[in-house]
């Protein structure tokens, strides 16, 4: 059974004004895979995620999702595409004026004509899957970070999407919630048959759950391979990232002149 | 908040607002000028309309029977041509007089119609021939001074 490529990114570049954020990106994600997109802050990961979601158009190149090129889609076409996608935002982005139940039920109420009784059953199922069925009456303000993230996950999978996009799902979570989310990501992918793309810089958790890793640096795709391949990678930039070394090819200090000279401890030396 | 409670409060708000509008319309304002009912128009020419303005009331025996709708200058006769819109239920004889009067001492000016005795009534678009202009203060003063001077003269002549 040949797995179709759900996402194909062909030679995509993106500039915001004069700043070149992404250049020459090539990616393929097969159906059913869990793929991690890694890189340090500011490497362009979130931008790439937005291009896949159709929020922005690439300056050049093509983005293909499920056999449709997002470049040509109009508003209606984009919305049609997004019905089949689910996105988990960095801090959950729950609707603060709705309860947990109403948040998860949002997509069901907006996009389907299902009767309330059926919606209730579906919402409870999703909440049970993330372990928060008892919290359905609470308002988002009453939830902890980890709980809010899990509710947002339940909301994102409410329509059983074929593609799940995760924007930094592990940021700012305690180790227990971290493990729970990571496990849920893998579980949903396998049971619902979705494809998942994780944007993260949480190396340890990600490498445990994903099938494939892409590493972005300075807007270019620097490395690509399985988690084992990444752990054994020879590129010093990749090694520094994977093993969390403080100083390496990526400098710890923001580029600036010599500090001793700035403190006027010694005169500026001719190089 | 529960859906039904929300609807209740919003409903109360809308009812209160509409009630306020209705109270303003009926108790505070006067509805007679909304032109309910049929009307016909008459013309009248005045030498001087004084401070008469459009939408001033037209009264007969002190009761409002219509409104002034237009004021124009008649260049042929150098008079003011005033168009009056009168309630259709009110009819005036052909020899009625129209005068420009002031309500109170310093109040607004209005057109007062005194009913005549003619058997025939005005038809729509007719012209009221007998008119009395507004009292102009300067002319009144000069008239008074002229009379006073004339009074003094015979005494001086004696």
């Amino acid at each position: 059974m040949a797995s179709k490529n759900l996402i194909e990114i062909k030679d995509v570049s993106f500039s915001y004004g004069k700043r070149l954020i992404l250049s020459g990106i090539n990616m393929t994600i097969a159906q059913g895979q869990v793929v991690a997109l890694m890189g340090i802050s500011g490497s362009g990961k979130t931008t790439l995620l937005r291009l896949i979601g159709g929020v922005m158009r690439p300056t050049s190149g093509e983005v293909w999702v499920n056999g449709v090129c997002t470049n040509d889609l109009d508003q209606a076409g984009l919305y049609q595409l997004r019905r089949q996608m689910g996105m988990l935002f960095q801090f959950g982005a729950l609707f603060t004026d709705l309860s947990v139940f109403d948040n998860v039920a949002f997509q069901l109420r907006e996009h389907t004509q299902l009767p309330e009784a059926m919606i209730r059953d579906l919402v409870m199922m999703k909440l049970h899957a993330v372990g928060l069925r008892g919290a359905h009456q609470l308002m988002p303000a009453a939830l902890s970070g980890g709980m809010a993230r899990r509710v947002a996950l339940a909301r994102a999978i409410a329509l059983d999407p074929m593609l799940m996009l995760y924007d930094e799902p592990f940021t700012g979570l305690d180790p227990i919630s971290l493990g729970a989310i990571a496990q849920l990501v893998r579980q949903f992918n396998d049971t619902l048959g979705t494809t998942s793309l994780l944007v993260t810089h949480d190396v340890a958790e990600a490498l445990d759950v994903v099938d494939d890793v892409y590493y972005l640096a300075d807007g270019k795709m620097l490395a690509h391979g399985s988690p084992q391949a990444m752990r054994a990678h020879t590129n010093p930039v990749v090694r520094q990232f994977v093993y969390g070394e403080i100083d390496g090819p990526v400098a710890a200090q923001y580029p600036v002149g010599d500090f001793a000279t700035a403190l006027k401890l010694r005169k500026q030396c001719a190089a | 908040m529960q859906r039904s409670m929300l609807d209740l409060w919003v409903g109360l708000f809308v009812i209160a607002g509409l009630a306020a509008l209705v109270v303003l319309a009926f108790k505070v304002g006067n509805m007679s000028s909304t032109g309910a009912g049929e009307t016909y128009s008459l013309q009248a020419n005045f030498d001087n309309i004084g401070g008469l303005k459009p939408r001033a009331p037209v009264k007969s025996a002190g009761v409002v029977v219509g409104r002034v709708t237009r004021i124009e200058f008649n260049n042929d006769r150098f008079t003011a041509k005033v168009t009056l819109t009168i309630n259709k239920a009110v009819q005036f004889p052909k020899d009625s007089t129209a005068a420009i009067l002031t309500s109170g001492l310093l109040g607004e000016q209005y057109v007062g119609i005194d009913g005549g005795g003619d058997g025939e009534m005005f038809k729509a678009g007719d012209n009221i021939r007998l008119t009395q202009s507004a009292v102009v203060l300067e002319k009144l003063i000069s008239q008074f001074m002229f009379d006073k001077a004339a009074q003094g003269q015979p005494n001086a002549q004696k």
């Binding site: 949002f106 | 919003v10 209160a16 306020a20 509008l21 303003l24 505070v28 000028s33």
Partner: protein, 264 residues
């Protein structure tokens, strides 16, 4: 020095151009809101929910302010009118001032500071916490779902609030004028009735309040939607809403008054 002068002039020019661009963006935003209104017009429950927040919750401040303004008008008006022996027209003074001007304008200013700033802050925060982006990703247009219902709710509440203000004010004027000071009750109401014209005064007041409602809601929604997604951004947008809509209300009031009450 000449260089500094020229740079400040060019900065001013840049600011003016920026304002024009912003106005163009705001107009496009409003047209988009109107076009996307079909969703909420077919689902009135969305508008009803917003009506609660813009209208019902504003009722208390509107009624209390209206009462006090009416009472003050009667108090001050009486002082002046009694010197000319015309205290019987106190009712006319209170009613005309409220229905023509103070009702629509003060209700609009209160609405701008209460409901307008709330709308801006809410939408700005929704933008900052990525709720609008989340809605977009769930294939729900935030303008149709969030902005349009608030626009129609604001437009509907404004004339109702202005009418409530005027009615309450006249009642306050009655309490002070007739009950407390002792102006004749009959002449209070009869003079008022003969002087206040439904078409001229009340209808014009309603038209004014609708125009104010559109202006305030437009400004409030746009500032919120356009706010930078930071704490300073949202607070700056909220302040701008109150200031800009207050100025707009006063400016529009002058324009509308000069059209409506010409030569009366």
């Amino acid at each position: 020095m000449l260089h500094r002068l020229s740079s400040s002039v060019s900065a001013l020019g840049a600011q003016v151009i920026d304002m024009v661009l912003r106005l163009g963006y705001a107009t496009r935003f409003m047209l988009l809101t109107l076009r996307q209104s079909t969703t909420c017009l077919m689902r009135p429950s969305l508008i009803v929910r917003e009506l609660y927040y813009t209208g019902t919750l504003s009722m208390v401040i509107i009624l209390v302010s209206g009462l006090f303004v009416g009472m003050v008008l009667a108090l001050q008006g009486y002082q002046t009118l009694v010197t000319y022996g015309s205290e019987s027209v106190l009712g006319v003074l209170v009613a005309l001032s409220l229905v023509r001007e103070l009702g629509p304008v003060i209700a609009a200013l209160l609405f701008a500071s209460r409901a307008g700033s709330a709308m801006t802050a809410e939408i700005g925060l929704m933008k900052a916490t990525e709720q609008l982006a989340a809605m977009e990703m769930m294939a729900v247009d935030p303008i149709a779902r969030v902005v349009a219902p608030r626009f129609w709710a604001g437009l509907l509440s404004m004339p109702l609030l202005a009418a409530l203000f005027s009615a309450m004010g006249i009642f306050g004027g009655y309490i002070v004028g007739v009950v407390l000071i002792g102006v004749d009750e009959g002449s209070f109401w009869s003079q008022m009735q003969s002087a206040v014209d439904v078409r001229e005064d009340i209808l014009n007041g309603v038209i004014k309040s609708v125009v104010f409602g559109i202006a305030i809601t437009w400004i409030a929604l746009f500032e919120g939607y356009d706010a930078p997604p930071t704490a300073e951004g949202v607070s700056g947008a909220t302040t701008r809403t109150v200031v800009t809509s207050s100025l707009a209300v006063l400016g529009l009031d002058f324009i509308l008054t000069s059209f409506m009450f010409r030569g009366v």
